[in-house]
């Protein structure tokens, strides 16, 4: 046994030595590091994700309409801008609501909003679809660097269209996000980035909260961790993969104040 191990390690060293010029340390696994995380501002979600969304990686927040994914993304951006950092929202469907963002605490001055437009509304010289514009814009922002968070909102894009984004594009985004130390958050109906995503969380709507059956005061949601590439060593083995959280309406906050 010992002889076999010795010969295999010797063989590995030989191969690595032969390939050294082209592929340094070809057969030695890259040491894993604990990735930095950024808080989402929601304690239950942070607990589920070991501190928040990973910095310098792609995080996908998926779910159907009214599943709380936008509220989760806005809460995350609010905490990033609270630290004095700048963020960008690439809006493929032109669905971003600045009032909701301000109500969640996002500093609008530190937010760059890119509103994609439909091909018919654009000039003839710009025949790109909304999705294509969003991909190009995200690419430019990642290359520019300096943005602490970029939200690529393709939540209103049909999955059959968004699934056609080439994996090479996601791989490029992953590399660029890693270089720029940027959290790239993808809002969508499904997960599209596959192996390029460091984290996939699924949002599921639970129920609406009312006051006296006359006023809608909020919603409760469930968040499920579908995929997390790098788990920290201190994580418990039987930690539940889902967590509940709730978002209130603005008028409910005002009433409480």
């Amino acid at each position: 046994m010992s002889l076999a191990m010795t010969s295999s390690s010797a063989l590995r060293i030989q191969i690595e030595h032969a390939l050294e010029r082209r592929f340094p340390s070809a057969l030695t696994p890259v040491p894993r590091t604990i990735r930095e995380t950024a808080t989402t501002g929601i304690a239950a979600v942070d607990a589920l994700l070991d501190g928040g969304l990973p910095v310098g990686a792609i995080s996908e927040v998926v779910g159907q309409k009214s599943s709380g994914r936008t509220s989760l993304a806005l809460s995350f951006l609010a905490h990033r801008t609270l630290e004095g950092q700048v963020a960008a929202w690439v809006d493929a469907g032109d669905a971003f609501d600045p009032e909701s963002a301000a109500a969640n605490g996002v500093s609008l001055r530190q937010l760059l909003w890119v509103r994609c437009r439909s091909a018919s509304a654009a000039a003839k010289s710009r025949p790109w679809t909304r999705l294509d514009q969003a991909i190009r814009s995200t690419d430019l922002l990642l290359q520019a660097g300096g943005f602490a968070a970029i939200v690529l909102d393709i939540g209103d894009t049909a999955p059959e269209h968004a699934s056609r984004i080439p994996l090479a594009t996601w791989f490029r985004f992953r590399q660029a996000a890693d270089r720029a130390r940027c959290c790239l958050v993808v809002l969508g109906e499904r997960a599209y980035a596959q192996s390029s995503a460091a984290l996939v969380v699924e949002c599921v709507p639970r129920q609406g909260m009312t006051a006296g059956e006359t006023v809608l005061t909020g919603f409760s949601f469930e968040v499920r961790r579908e995929r997390q590439r790098q788990l920290s060593n201190v994580q418990g083995i039987r930690k539940p993969p889902a967590s509940m959280w709730s978002a209130t309406c603005r008028w409910a906050q005002e009433e409480r104040a």
Partner: protein
């Protein structure tokens, strides 16, 4: 030893030089400049290549067109004015006291350089540096330095390269110049020709009293000029610092590459002129005269004043991509506003932000992709109208946000424009609604929340809003915002809660 020292910079054939300096591709071709009204146009300036082909000033268009390969350009006073400003700007770097001494089609400036030796070294070095600076700006000039104003002026106009005349040798240096250097009237020149006087040296040798007796008091001045003794009271101009470049095209230009080629040269000149005063360019304003009498204008305003040529050229290229001229371009004017060179002090603990100059290019590219008004920071309007905002300019600010977060709140996803829906009512509450694709069963409806405003104007609103929980036939539940627009009596799906 005299304390006076003058330097004269002389650009001959200035109409041709002004036109060719922004067109390097034409500098190796024979080019002549025409002035006057058709069909009586005549050549007023030419370059060396044209001179070698036998072209002379005063030729008519017909005569010039008979010379093969000769390119003819119309004279442009705007180009000459812009070029004069560039020459003046270069000269002003070496002395604040400048007097204009131009005559005919030449451009001449005389600089008072007395006392500049400790700054720029001996006059020869100063003259070489000035000549090199003007060559970089696209001008071929001759320079003369003398303790006498007129000696410097006459020598510069009638020699090539750099000439430094030591004090006391003015007469000897001017002696070989032709009498035509004095720009005499034709009858006076004829008189001297009859006498056999052809050079300034021969004029200087004539007895002063006899000369005045025959030709009057003017002759005394000519003799003093020829001897390098004519006194002069220096009258400095006060040049206005204006960063402007102008180019008039021989034929209307349609290709963006050609415009960018000229634009790059203009930016180079503007940056060099601003840099000579330790300034940068804060904004660029472009104005174009187009075919059919139309005009095109635009402004490029980077976040920080910059002297980076490549960066400014990229912004110009993106401006052309976003707002291309709607017709062929006749002339191109580029003016700049000077600003202080910006230095950014980074801190160890300050958050990482986008680099301002790079961000400018990125935003310009984003605008080229999505549209001019589709990129920026949202600014909430001071209005009760639901969903009102405007797009503001995105400026990087490292100040920490003062906004408070009271926990997550329900966010809306707006439908722009709102989707018209048909609603089935049960009593006074909505029970079902249907858009173009799906129908929804309403499980709970909260409202109506009445809102109205601006009833005194045409853009007023009056609507009932309903917070609605609904399910589709596929058991998918949604929460959305329905609105009954009273002004049009129509239901709309305004937003989804998400």
């Amino acid at each position: 030893m005299s304390e006076q020292l003058y330097l004269c910079v002389h650009a001959a054939e200035f109409p041709a030089q002004a036109l060719l300096r922004l067109r390097p591709e034409m500098q190796s071709q024979p080019v002549a400049v025409l002035e006057g009204r058709a069909p009586l146009e005549a050549i007023c300036a030419l370059n060396r290549h044209a001179e070698r082909r036998g072209v002379v000033c005063g030729m008519t268009r017909l005569e010039a067109e008979a010379i093969a390969g000769l390119r003819l350009l119309p004279r442009s006073t705007e180009s000459e004015a812009a070029a004069r400003a560039v020459v003046r700007e270069c000269a002003a770097y070496y002395s604040p006291r400048i007097e204009a001494a131009s005559y005919g089609t030449a451009c001449s400036y005389v600089l008072d350089i007395a006392g500049t030796g400790r700054l720029f070294g001996p006059p020869e070095r100063l003259a070489e540096r000035l000549r090199a600076a003007l060559a970089t700006a696209g001008f071929r000039v001759s320079i003369a330095v003398s303790a006498n104003f007129h000696t410097a002026r006459l020598k510069a106009a009638n020699s090539r390269g750099v000439t430094v005349i030591p004090e006391g040798e003015e007469a000897a240096q001017l002696g070989k110049l032709p009498l035509a250097a004095l720009a005499l009237a034709p009858d006076q020149a004829e008189t001297f020709a009859v006498w056999g006087i052809r050079t300034l040296g021969e004029l200087a040798a004539l007895p002063e009293t006899d000369l005045i007796t025959r030709l009057g008091q003017h002759a005394s001045m000519w003799r003093a000029l020829a001897r390098g003794e004519q006194a002069h009271t220096f009258q400095p101009i006060e040049p206005e610092f204006a960063l402007e470049e102008f180019c008039e095209f021989e034929t209307p230009v349609e290709e963006m590459e050609s415009l960018l080629f000229v634009g790059a040269r203009m930016i180079d000149c503007l940056v060099a002129r601003a840099a000579s005063r330790a300034l940068s360019l804060a904004s660029l304003t472009l104005q174009m005269k187009l075919a059919e009498g139309r005009t095109h204008s635009g402004t490029i305003r980077p976040a920080l004043a910059s002297a980076d040529r490549k960066f400014l050229l990229k912004l110009l290229q993106l401006e052309f991509a976003a707002h291309p001229p709607q017709a062929a371009v006749h002339s191109f004017n580029l003016s700049a506003e000077a600003g202080q060179s910006s230095t950014v002090q980074l801190g160890l603990f300050t958050p990482q932000t986008p680099e301002p100059s790079r961000l400018d290019v990125t935003i310009a590219r984003l605008k080229a992709i999505t549209g001019e008004d589709r990129v920026g920071s949202p600014v909430l309007e001071d209005s009760n109208r639901p969903g009102s905002f405007r797009m503001g300019q995105f400026v990087v600010s490292t100040n920490a946000s003062t906004a408070k977060t009271d926990g997550p709140q329900m966010a809306l996803r707006r439908m722009r424009p709102p989707v018209p829906v048909s609603v089935v009512m049960q009593g006074d509450r909505p029970r079902k609604f249907r858009d173009a694709e799906r129908s929804f069963e309403i499980t709970a409806a909260y409202g109506p929340w009445r809102t109205s405003g601006c009833w005194w104007s045409t853009d007023g609103w009056d609507a009932d809003e309903w917070d609605v929980l609904a399910t589709t036939r596929q058991e998918t539940s949604i929460a959305c915002l329905l609105m009954l627009d009273h002004t049009r009596n129509a239901w709309q799906l305004v937003a989804f809660y998400d």
